[in-house]
Amino acid sequence: MLDDFFVRALVAGVGVALVASPLGCFIVWRRLAYFGDTLSHAALFGVALALLLESNITITVFGVSVFIAVALMFLQKRATLSADSLLGLLAHSALALGLVALAFMTWVRVDLMGFLFGDVLSASVNDITVIYVGGAFVISVMVFIWRPLFAATVNRELAEAEGVNPDRDDVVFMLLMAGVIAMAMKIVGVLLITALLIIPAAAARRFATGPEQMAVLAALIGSASVFAGLFGSLEWDTPSGPSIVVAALLFFIISISPLAALVTRNRPGPIVDGG
């Protein structure tokens, strides 16, 4: 029999994987990996703030992520530094700031490893509720903005000319990302959130022929990674968050291996009728 805590870990982990994958696809398509890193690393700063104010950690992390996301969008619009270097700089500064802030708070005992790498095995029923209620909301909004957001990803001006409002959708997407980071932090930790967002999506790319398919495949691969990672961590007594990421990485490696080429080659391709 599986222990209760292990079942809760599976349920929580799969919930996060399901919510993360459609967002992860956009992070891959829009090359927002550094952006995701910056937001998730800044989450540690949110943790420090929550401990200082004795406020709800999830909500505080969400607030800090939103603030950082807005600040980043603003900076990107006017900064002379390339977006890439700017984010690279901020991603790691945010992490360092969070660590320093936590170190200053000598009066609280913090499970730093838990925040950095996640502690899915301690997921409570309350955590699961937050993940599934929040996740259902995130997915509903994603469904709503999916087509225009994808259109603006393919070509922003084309989408805008044809009635899409890319600026509005960008803001909505940032808010969703901040929400997912706040929800996922406890499960995989701030260092590994981006990995859980990106790796399943990247692994799904090879097999997908459309954006919707890619999101569904990424969700499946993400869930499978959670299962494989957690059972692996049980078997070999490895840390749970990193194990999930390692499992996802294995799926990615399989997807780029010659083995996967066999599958994709058999897929119906363009029919050339010489018209």
Partner: protein
């Protein structure tokens, strides 16, 4: 007012300034329902910028642009590159900015001659094939305003004639306005109502010359192309020098050529100009 005038998009003395430089200035242009307006001019003359202004994608830094509300727009940008990370087939591309009935998609793919590529990944298409797919996507929407930025790039001569015939028949079917950008300075679609010649400003504008009756042109274009293509004869009161300066009709030379310098109010001298004058 705009409703009555029939203009889908209207530019008045519109200009875009970036970093202190006017990319384009003083554009007056109307695209009305059922009308085809062709923008021509050398590379970098501000054609794409003008089209983006007409579409409301960039706000004018001077003058004004009126784009009618709630227009259904079909836009084919000059350059669309689809990243390899994006899984996108032609049929999904067709529904990029909105759901479209399957029958409309089929029709659009058929008239542009890319039905057989329906399941192909967009990034595997050749330049000409992708251009047709983009045109198919834009017309499948049954737009009120169709904006085509160099739609025949990468398409061979026969394909070009076909696409021009297609644009005309779409205009006739949908009664939509068409803003067409062409790289050719002298040969335009015969169905064009108004040619606007740009080079940082409007150099000249007017309808193209009907060439169907001219034996010389028939020889040049071939009998098939003659009813489709027309010649545009420029009437410039100034010339753009290779260094970017402008020589006016009165012989003076200025750094720029803008509506607010007095030269443009000099009496117009009509002359048939060659490529060198335009470029």
């Amino acid at each position: 007012m705009l409703e009555n005038s029939g203009s889908l998009t209207r530019l008045r003395n519109a200009g875009i300034n970036r970093g202190g430089r006017w990319l384009i200035r003083g554009v007056d242009m109307d695209v009305e329902r059922g009308q085809i307006v062709t923008l021509i001019g050398p590379n970098g003359s501000g054609k794409s910028t003008t089209a983006k202004m007409a579409l409301g994608l960039v706000a004018p830094d001077e003058g004004n642009v009126n784009l009618r509300d709630r227009l259904c727009v079909g836009y084919v940008p000059q350059k669309v590159s689809v990243d390899w990370t994006l899984p996108l087939t032609v049929s999904r591309f067709m529904a990029l900015t909105g759901r479209i009935p399957r029958r409309q998609i089929d029709e659009a793919l058929a008239v542009t001659g890319v039905s057989h590529l329906r399941n192909a990944e967009v990034r595997t298409l050749s330049g000409g094939e992708f251009q047709r797919a983009m045109l198919a996507r834009a017309i499948a929407r049954k737009p009120d305003l169709l904006v085509l930025d160099e739609p025949v790039q990468g398409v061979d001569f026969n394909g070009e004639i076909l696409i021009y015939e297609l644009i005309k028949s779409i205009r006739d079917d949908l009664r939509c306005g068409v803003l067409l950008i062409s790289h050719d300075l002298h040969v335009v679609m015969a169905a064009t109502d108004q040619v606007v010649c740009l080079n940082g400003h409007v150099c000249c504008s007017g309808p193209p010359v009907d060439v169907a009756s001219s034996d010389a042109y028939r020889e040049l274009f071939g009998t098939r192309a003659t009813p489709t293509l027309a010649v545009y004869e420029h009437t410039h009161d100034h010339a753009h020098l290779p260094d970017g300066r402008v020589r006016h009709a009165d012989g003076t030379i200025t750094d720029h050529c803008h509506p607010d310098d007095s030269h443009h109010h000099a009496p117009e001298i009509s002359e048939k100009t060659g490529a060198a004058d335009v470029g």
